[in-house]
Amino acid sequence: MATRKKALLKVIVLGDSSVGKTSLMNQYVNKRFSNQYKATIGADFLTKEVVIDERVVTMQIWDTAGQERFQSLGVAFYRGADCCVLVYDTTAPNTFKNLESWRDEFLIQASPRDPDHFPFVVLGNKIDLENRAVSTKRAQQWCLTKNDIPYFETSAKEGINVDLAFQTIAKNAIAQETEGDLYNDFPDQIKLNTRDSRPRSGDNCSC
């Protein structure tokens, strides 16, 4: 039991609309890039098998819709995530500024047991484009302030750094996994336990 590791890693990809979340996932899983301009409804996922430390692990990558309204469904998407990928568009400063709220939002909705050490990875996408607006330094600095989140600059279109980034994502997710469960898997039971162990005054009389 000591070596019990999850063989299925759930990865959530978050970020503003049209930063390239779907494209990154497609590039990583299917090695394809589509020029089609297509918003995502709710969420979609793809799975991919990766080998990490000589272990075969299935990554289930959840690509979420960037549209605000879909965020009310966040709880359903985020739950049980092993790693969260925050994506911004290097040519759109707003999408970078919003990383902070995406991160906060994720931590609130997913409520992992140890928010400070939950594995995030930040991807600055679209580096193939010329009109870059967020500098590498600025992005790195932000990542540093957030407990040193790994940062990659990618191009889903050209396939730059995509594999490397997702390898890291998988590694971080699995590393976290060995340190213990990220969530309380049996919330009901744990609730019962705490109720039993906590001394109670007679305030639960409901007669």
Binding site: I41, G42, E105
Partner: protein
């Protein structure tokens, strides 16, 4: 039961109890027993107001003999506040303070029940303002708090207020809807806030839901929005936004999809909500077309009542499930039942989106993309659960897509389009084979979050639901382990969908087993689950 009987019992359990507190406990017991309490509460309240310097109404009290008996035995005193004062411990002053807070509809009970909720939603929906000072009053040292809980004075203050409201004692009440001021109203509002306010990067103006001045446009009911000059049924803010987008946003790639600067949207929202006057309309932030488009989305999303009226929601979803021309004719019939304000607003919005999509070669926002952006905001149910949100998500988008695509037919008495056209409308949205398993997985997650909703249909008790949950979790785990054994991506996906079906079957078997065993042997739930 009488106080004379209860008082010694209470005294036995809580020897340090003062008669005054016994009275509270007694009244509480009485409240639980029936409406008679109202009288007792009146009595208490009169007493309290007497302490506040105002003389209570002795005549009224004298008329209520039963209360006289209770009151007399409580503290052996008369009616005037002065008689009570020596007996009153310091705590009672606090109670008095709470009592006088009754207009706010807040009570410590409300607060203590609410706390975990506000904790959940914490940074997203900031706690209701009026509560904050209350909690300051309530948060006594814990020891004392527990002590008080024995006597449940909190319940008293809460119920007291409810009774006051029931007795139409409006003199104490400040303005505002009584419903929204009761704890139920507050909890409901908080819940709505949590549900409706995504709290996402773009949750604009989410915190100022509470007190919006007249002339506000965002976060207020459609009927209260300032209207445009051209059409008195169309909100001015909508007309303004669509006008700007049509004049300079039609060629912007990803218009409506790409969000504007969050800070600018928030500030513009605040400005607008102070009133859409000349200065507000001259705000420089209107220049940024992405801010304006985000603002429009925020306006639709934050309408307290959905743009398509709640009572028609089910109808629209059902109509969308039809095929061919029937889908269109049914939907048009439903549209005719939309109230004028909503109808004209919807029409204005759809005409605008139709125009935007006409430039989709440049801006890349075809009806489908626009529908994904607007669908779940326009077509939503006011009390939408996560489960329905996930299930109906696709239909919500499809409905808006069909409205944009067939704008002429729906809103301008255009001819009924041929069936083929409507079919492609549906076909383009439901195209990917991935979508079905992802929905089922989402629903699976939802069932974890809203555990009792799904199972309540099949199970009779919470226990059974618990077992099912536990069984489902177990099955899910083994399924997950199984799924990792599979080799290729498509296999994994199909496996996912089959396992979820499998798990349903297994869980229903578990229910049956429990129902068979349960009554006979009285198996504890944990055994059933194992």
């Amino acid at each position: 039961m009488d106080l004379i009987l209860t008082a010694p019992i209470v005294g036995q359990y809580f020897p340090r109890t003062s008669p005054w507190e016994v009275a509270y406990a007694y009244i509480d017991v009485q409240q639980r027993m029936g409406q008679l309490v109202l009288v007792a509460v009146w009595r208490t309240r009169d007493y309290l107001s007497g302490r506040g310097g105002q003389q209570a109404e002795p005549q009224r009290i004298a008329a209520q003999t039963s209360v006289q008996v209770h009151g007399g035995s409580v503290s052996g005193g008369g009616n005037s506040g002065d008689d009570y004062s020596p007996v009153l411990p310091a705590k009672s002053h606090r109670k008095y303070a709470l009592g006088s807070r009754s207009p706010s509809g807040q009570s410590p009970v409300t607060k203590s029940r609410k706390t975990p909720q506000t904790g959940c939603s914490s940074p997203t929906g900031s706690a209701d303002q009026p509560i904050v000072p209350m909690s300051a009053t309530t948060n006594q040292p814990t020891g004392q708090y527990h002590h008080q809980q024995h006597h449940q004075p909190h319940h008293l203050t809460l119920q007291q207020q409810q009774h006051f409201t029931g007795a139409k004692d409006s003199s104490d009440r400040e303005s505002g809807s009584p419903k929204s001021k009761t704890w139920k109203g507050i909890v409901a509002r908080q819940f709505r806030k949590m549900q409706g306010q995504p709290g996402s990067p773009s949750a604009t103006g989410g915190s100022d839901l509470m007190a919006l001045p007249d002339g506000a446009s965002i976060n207020v009911p459609l009927q209260q929005c300032p209207v445009s000059e051209e059409n008195p049924y169309v909100p001015l803010v909508l007309a303004k936004c669509t006008g700007i987008v049509e004049s300079k946003g039609l060629g912007v790639v990803g218009i409506y999809r790409i969000p504007g600067n969050t800070a600018a949207i928030t500030q513009l929202t605040e400005t607008i909500n102070r009133g859409l006057d000349e200065t507000a309309l001259r705000d420089a932030r209107w220049e940024d077309v992405n801010v304006v488009s985000s603002l429009l989305k925020s306006f639709i999303r934050n309408l307290p009542e959905p743009l398509l009226p709640n009572e028609l929601y089910g109808g629209f979803i059902a109509a969308d499930k039809l095929s061919g021309q029937r889908r269109l004719t049914d939907m048009r019939q439903l549209l005719r039942r939309v109230p004028p304000m909503n109808y004209e607003t919807l029409k204005h919005l759809m005409r605008h989106l139709y125009r935007v999509s006409a430039h989709s070669e440049v801006n890349l926002m075809d009806p489908r993309n626009l529908a994904i952006v607007f669908g779940p905001s326009v077509v939503r149910s006011a009390n939408e659960s996560l489960e329905t949100a996930v299930k109906d998500m696709r239909h919500q988008c499809q409905i808006v897509e069909v409205l944009i695509n067939n704008y002429q037919y729906f809103f301008e008495d255009g001819l009924l389009p041929s069936v083929d056209e409507s079919k492609t409308g549906t076909g383009t949205v439901v195209d990917s084979g991935l979508e079905v398993p992802s929905t089922s997985l989402l629903l699976d997650n939802v069932s974890k979050i809203e555990p009792f909703k799904e199972q309540s249909k099949e199970s009779t008790s919470g226990f059974v639901a618990n077992i099912v949950q536990a069984a489902n979790r177990k099955i899910r785990r083994t399924a997950q382990r199984k799924s990792t054994m599979s080799s290729t991506t498509p296999d994994t996906l199909s496996l996912d969908s089959t396992t979820s079906a499998e798990s349903k079957e297994q869980s229903s078997r578990v229910i049956r087993r429990y129902l068979e065993l349960g009554p006979k042997s009285g198996t504890p739930p944990s055994v059933g689950a194992g």
